[in-house]
Structure formats: C-alpha cells, structure tokens
C-alpha cells in the first residue's frame, strides 16, 4: 500500500499546496453567518522543507493541519498533499496533535499507543513483530523505551508528548505535521526533540510545525510564516511587521543568546497592549 505511493513522490509535487483556501464552521444553510477560521490562504511547502507557522491561539493553525489531513474539507479553495487529495495521502503523513486533545486517562500502555501509529502502515499480515521492533526502536530514540509497559495515565506531559511523537513517526511519514510539539516538554528535552526533527528533515522528511509560542521556533527551520485567519508571509526570514499583523500587537524579536533559539519570548509590553 505504501510502496507505489513512495515512488510517486519523485514527481516533485509540493508536499503541501493550498490555493485560496477558506474555511468556516457552520452549515451551508447559514453560509456567511459562520465563524470564519481561514480566509484565502495560499501555502506552498516544497518537499524537504522545515517550516514553522506562527500565530496566536484561535488563529486557525490547528484547522490548517486538519485540512491537510483531510479531517475537514475547505469551504472553498483546494488542498493537495504530494499532488493528490488529502484522503489519498494519509499513509504519507504523520500527525502529532496538541497534547490537550488526546485522552490522558485511558487503559493502554505506552507501547500500545505507539503501535497505533503502525495500523494501516504495517504492510502484509504477520508484521506484528516488525511493528513492535519499529515501535521500540523509535521509543528508545525518543528516550522513552523504559516506559513501554507504563500506563498512559501515569505519564508526565513531556513523556506523553514524546509518546505521541513516536506514534506519528512509526508510520515512517514523508510529511510530519506538528501541533505545538514542545508545549509541555521541559527545555532540556526540547533540545533532544528538536535534534530528532532536524535529523528527520535531513533524511528528507518534510516538516510543518504550528505554534503560538514565538520562543519555540528552533534555528533549524528553513522557512517561516505567520498566520491569523490569513497567512501573512512565507519566506526564510521573519519580519517583525508580519508578526505584528498576525498577533495584532507588536512583538519583539530579541535573541537571548540561547543557541537553539532565534527568537526571544513575547515581551511584557506587547502582552499589555
């Protein structure tokens, strides 16, 4: 199932291509009355890119990811993933949802949850052992192999986040979608998580990350955009003007001399306004 899909990728279609995409909640009957989440978004992410999309909470970032995953359909415009309809590209995409949306209190072990990422990717029958090996290997890479038989409800936020990253990676995705991937990871493990993303990107995996935290953007990203209902800019450098338009307030871009950060955190004065 994944075999022929992999070969098609050499065609060089963009990993993600959005054309004039708008999205609003509410039924068609009440068109125009619904809350507009995205307006006329154009986005082109080439294969091999590592892009961060910054924007305030409620700015439509998660909706953007759900459109790329085919979980929702745009009200207008088109979404293509590796040149095809999102529903036809699911086996190529790995998804790390925001931590708050996944059940914390559920009777499952960490290994079981990581293995869920292999369903639909596992190839022919009898691949159970291979699934297990892949899962354990990914867990050791993320430093959570000793948690394999722990219950998910006993994990800390950072451990659960790494479990969800492992779950997305065991399907060997060509495009990785990350929703606030380091929101609850402590800063020491942030570095190790970013190293893994960097290595994946080096090996050819396209990464699209959305976050509201300007300080969470790593130096390894290749392009950046700002988003609040509309997508503001999309290039290699981040301009304070774009950030200000997305957040609706001035945002200072100050480096703290922290090696893995290009940007400072939201300044106090900006918050006050």
């Amino acid at each position: 199932m994944t075999g022929p899909a992999r070969e098609d990728l050499s065609g060089g279609a963009p990993a993600v291509l959005l054309r004039e995409v708008s999205f609003q909640y509410g039924s068609l009957a009440s068109a125009g009355a619904g809350h507009q989440v995205l307006r006329d978004v154009d986005l082109r992410v080439e294969q091999g890119d590592y892009i961060a999309i910054l924007g305030p909470n409620g700015g439509g970032k998660t909706t953007l990811l759900r459109l790329i995953l085919g979980l929702v359909r745009p009200s207008s415009g088109s979404v293509r993933v590796f040149g095809r309809d999102p529903s036809q590209a699911l086996s190529l995409v790995g998804y790390v949802p925001q931590l708050t949306t996944s059940a914390g209190d559920f009777p499952a072990s960490v290994l079981e949850v990581v293995l869920m990422g292999r369903i639909g990717h596992g190839g022919p029958r009898g691949g159970r052992r291979r699934d297990r090996e892949t899962a354990l290997e990914m867990m050791s890479r993320l430093g959570i192999s000793e948690l394999a038989s722990e219950s998910v409800s006993s994990l800390s936020g950072g451990q659960r986040q790494r479990m969800l990253i492992a779950r997305a990676l065991v399907g060997s995705p060509r495009l990785l979608l990350l929703d606030e991937p380091v929101a609850s990871v402590d800063s020491a493990s942030q570095d190790s998580v970013y190293t893994i993303f960097h290595e994946l990107n080096e090996s050819g995996v396209t990464i699209l990350m959305v976050t509201h935290d300007v300080g969470a953007v790593s130096t390894q990203i290749k392009s950046i955009a700002c988003m609040n209902v509309q997508l503001f800019r999309h290039g290699e450098k981040l301009l304070e003007a774009d950030l200000a338009r997305a957040y609706g307030c001035p945002v200072d871009l100050i480096t703290h001399g922290v090696p893995h950060r290009v940007l400072g955190t939201h300044s106090r004065s900006a918050d006050d306004q």
């Binding site: 699911l90 949802p97 009777p107 079981e112 369903i119 639909g120």
Partner: protein
C-alpha cells in the same frame, strides 16, 4: 441448593449466565472506555418499543427488540456524528420515545401482554434452549468481530481524530461498536430485563477499570466478574426467594461500591508510603 441444580430451568439459567457474561465483559468494556453508558441505557429502553410492536404484529419479542435497539443505536450514532454536542439530548429522546411507542403498541394490541414483566425486569429462570442457542451465536459474532478488529477498536477509542488521520474508518468502527452494544442488550434482556441491563453492561467493566490498565485485561476480568455476579445473584435469589434480575444487579452494585472504596484506600496508602519514602 444442590437439588436446584437438577432442574432443567436452573441448568439453562447457569448456561445463560455464562453466555451472557461474555457479551457483558467484552462489549461492556468497549462501552466503558468509550463512555457510552447513557447510549446503552437509551438503546435498552428503546427496545421496549420493539417488544410492543412484536405483540401487535405477532413476531418473536426478541426480534422486535433487536430491530428497535439496532435502529435507535444507529439513529443516535448518525445524528450525534453530525453534531456531537447534540448526542446528550438525542440519547434522552430515543430513550423516552422507545418506551412511549411500546406503551402505544401494547394498548393497540389485542389481549393482555402476559410475559411483559419478564422482559422489563428479566427472568433468567425462564430462558429456553432456543434462547441459549441465540445467545451462543451472538457471542460467536461478538468474539469474531472484536478479535479481528481489536487493535483498530482500541485505537479509535483512545484517539478517534488520530485514527482518522491514520486512515481508519472511524465512523464505521464506532457504528460497529453501537451495533454490538445493541445486540448484547437484546441478549441480556432475558437475564436482567431492559430496565436494569445498563448495570450489567457497565458495572463489571468499571470494576475492572479500577484495577487494570489495558483494554484486553479489562475484557478478561469483566467476563469473569459478570459470570460471578450472575451466578452469585442466581444462588442468592434462589435461597432468599427474590427476583433474580434484581438480586444480580444488587450483587454487582455492592461489589462496585466496595471496589471503589478499595481503590480509593489503595491509592491513599500508596500516596502516604511514597511520602514516607521521601
């Protein structure tokens, strides 16, 4: 007590308890981890409409019940998948509408609905050979489907959004769980009655949930607990000359609250031990 075991009806009752506990444990675990207790209650009460209909048109009561519980389950599933926030009221509406239809059908039917009480409150002692055959076939269907789709069912229960993004047919799997619940309810109506069946479907799995940490283990313990509750209830009801369905539910309820207490004190003890260790 021992001479009771010689009666054919008692042997049938014990067999029914064993067969029913498989559905209770396996499907009940899915109900509990998906928080579908209210849905289960609604499906069970809607089955009353089917019982009424079967009196009116003269079909087998369980066939009418199956028709209505499957129909209401699929209806609730379809409406709430369009709008999840509506599921609460949809569940309540189907619950009451099913009961109301049942009463209207029974009023319209000629004669007197004699064994209606046995479906409302259950009568494990009147289970027949053909009931047992039906229960056994339903168990086979449940075990085959849950066994074949186990990993998918657990993945959908844990995180439906990720499962969908991973290419699983989430709505179909959810509807399958609803149908399995409806069929289990019909099967257990003979034992505990449609009013109390919700307890049979949820209490064993809820007790298992307190002490176990995987869905598979929960299913196994729930089957054992259901069987134990039913056999203990059956024996007590026989000795005390009380209605069996009610005694089975009371035994289950008592164990549930004791288990809650045990889990609570266990947690408190572990917490104080880890405090002392520091």
């Amino acid at each position: 007590m021992t001479e009771a075991l010689g009666h054919a009806f008692m042997q049938n009752a014990i067999a029914a308890a064993m067969l029913g506990s498989i559905a209770c444990g396996v499907v009940g675990t899915l109900v509990v981890v998906n928080r579908m207790s209210a849905l289960t209650g609604s499906i069970a009460h809607a089955a009353f409409g089917g019982l009424g209909l079967s009196y009116l048109v003269g079909i087998h009561p369980l066939a009418g019940a199956a028709l209505f519980s499957l129909g209401s389950g699929l209806g609730i599933g379809a409406i709430s998948s369009c709008n999840p926030k509506r599921s609460d009221t949809v569940i309540a509406a189907f619950w009451a509408i099913g009961m109301a239809l049942g009463l209207v059908f029974i009023r319209l039917a000629p004669g007197y609905a004699v064994d209606l009480m046995s479906y409302l409150f259950g009568s494990i002692l009147s289970v027949t050979r053909s009931d047992l055959l039906l229960m056994a076939s339903l168990d086979v269907v449940i075990l085959a489907l849950v066994g074949a789709l186990f990993r998918r069912l657990v993945a959908v229960s844990y995180d439906p959004e990720f499962a969908r993004a991973n290419g699983l047919r989430v709505r179909a799997l959810f509807m399958l769980m609803v149908c399995l619940t409806a069929l289990s309810v019909v099967m257990l109506v003979r034992i505990a009655g449609l009013i109390m069946v919700i307890a049979m479907m949820t209490i064993p799995a809820s007790v298992a949930r307190l002490f176990l940490r995987t869905v598979r283990a929960m299913m196994i313990l729930s089957v054992a607990l259901s069987a134990a509750f039913m056999l203990a209830g059956l024996a007590l009801a026989w000795v005390l000359d009380l209605p069996t369905g009610a005694v089975i539910i009371l035994v289950s309820g008592l164990v549930y609250f004791l288990a809650l207490l045990a889990a609570r004190t266990g947690r408190a003890r572990r917490a104080s031990e880890s405090l002392q260790a520091q």
